[in-house]
Symmetry: C2
Subunit: 326 residues, 2 copies
Amino acid sequence: MIRIGIVGYGNLGKGVEAAVANSPDMELVAVFTRRDPACVHPATNVPVAKFDDMAAYQGKIDVMVNCGGSATDLPVTTPVIAALFSVVDSFDTHAKIPEHLANVNAAAEQGGNVALISVGWDPGMFSLNRLYMNAILPDGKDYTFWGRGVSQGHSDAIRRIEGVLDARQYTVPVESALASVRAGENPELTTRQKHTRECYVVAAEGADKAKIEEEIKTMPNYFADYDTTVTFITMEEMKRDHSGIPHGGSVIRSGCTGLDHSTKHTIEYSLKLDSNPEFTGSVIAAYARAAYRLKEKGETGCKTVFDVAPVLLMPQERSEIVAKML
Amino acid sequence: MIRIGIVGYGNLGKGVEAAVANSPDMELVAVFTRRDPACVHPATNVPVAKFDDMAAYQGKIDVMVNCGGSATDLPVTTPVIAALFSVVDSFDTHAKIPEHLANVNAAAEQGGNVALISVGWDPGMFSLNRLYMNAILPDGKDYTFWGRGVSQGHSDAIRRIEGVLDARQYTVPVESALASVRAGENPELTTRQKHTRECYVVAAEGADKAKIEEEIKTMPNYFADYDTTVTFITMEEMKRDHSGIPHGGSVIRSGCTGLDHSTKHTIEYSLKLDSNPEFTGSVIAAYARAAYRLKEKGETGCKTVFDVAPVLLMPQERSEIVAKML
């Protein structure tokens, strides 16, 4: 059995907990938190320990899954953990991945551990598919569409507006753009032409709804570059209709082959997810298995999904996988 | 530059030739044939040599791509080549892959080379996606749909019927079955419910068309289990409308996550290919790069797409790939 620890028990931590429970070769040893452990109640009744007491678990846990946030949490905690344990995180600030990789690599090498960063679906499975598509069709163009799904960051941004009690933002791909890309037309698409943003907002009593709507639609980076719709709903409607965290999307590459580059091909990888954190947790569980096996083979340092041979993700033996799946 | 040799110059050999020409880090050194070399005319004017003279190219070629047929050719020639060179093939007789792997592995180990077998899209990219999907969603069901595309084996089977001058067979997925699978309904589907077969046939003058149609539709293994349509056309129509070799298809897995297995997800990987051999050749070229790199790292033996870390498929440096694609 591969012994797993979870660091941080939010939505992603719960997703990893369920994925580990559903993996025949894994067991969850403990959840670590920087809150008061008495306030954290895992669904599987696993023990809860303090983040700072983690070192006492060396030799009792094979792989830690760091479920903290990318903005301020993972850049600090993944290196700390990597010095003590093999670790997987879902660091998703694309521009800062090389820096994070270097920091985590130094700590993992020092600890003699394997770290896997930026595991999930984007970064993660989408990145992996971009790589495979580019390797096969070097002469081509790729597109990523997200949604329909809940963007947590955009929902949070709306909640910070005065007079907003709750909000949920859905990112929605523009169907005509998707159709054009799928048809291999290789369109040039602006931000506005690729996605729309749907916002569902619960306003406080007496709040100025017109002002809230204006503030959302003109918010730089988040909404100003998109066609955005704002719908005011009641708290009851929010709870009834928008409690899920669905997401998904597609990576599509069209490219040409042949000596005269005249033959066209289209590759598409797409996801429809009823729960973003449960799916991400399931991807991470598979890569925790790979981290464990890489360390068993004597490897050390920080890796990404690009560095992991696919066979390491499966609980079965290689010979069985080759016979059944190839 | 990675120095490539091609063994066998049919449709696949031509596809590999074009893919190598479009790869910045590869050069084609020679084509090897068991025909008279004077009768083989590569599109890129590369030298043609006899299969039996291959040993003289040791040290001049890094990776051989074996483009022979799976039925009788590859089981014999890939081990012969693997004893002399690193080699990639597209062996596609699924049931015999373990046996082929064992034979090729023995030869590659003896020669100190790396062999990669069953590279293409099925087996190949479809297999790889089945593995990733199963690793992420262990509780689920997967489906493979092929087409719309030309099945060479089925076309050949029709051509062997008395009175048939030429034939082209398209495998076509049943749209309603695809829709049900994409909707996550996990249907149980018979062979007949998944694909139909469209046959375009040129009959000899005076041939008994009714008899030909009956022979096709009742042919065991090939057509009897499918809803098959037969359309008689002229040789001119065959050349005008059916000279391409398009193919494609989808691998789809629906699965559940969560402690109570109640959350649903669907993953789909799909291909639309204007030329099956050119796309297969492009996949093989990327894996020839990986075979070269694995041997450079000191590895030996027979591998599959499951064993290859994705980063090895790209011509760029890892740091650049991580920065741009993750």
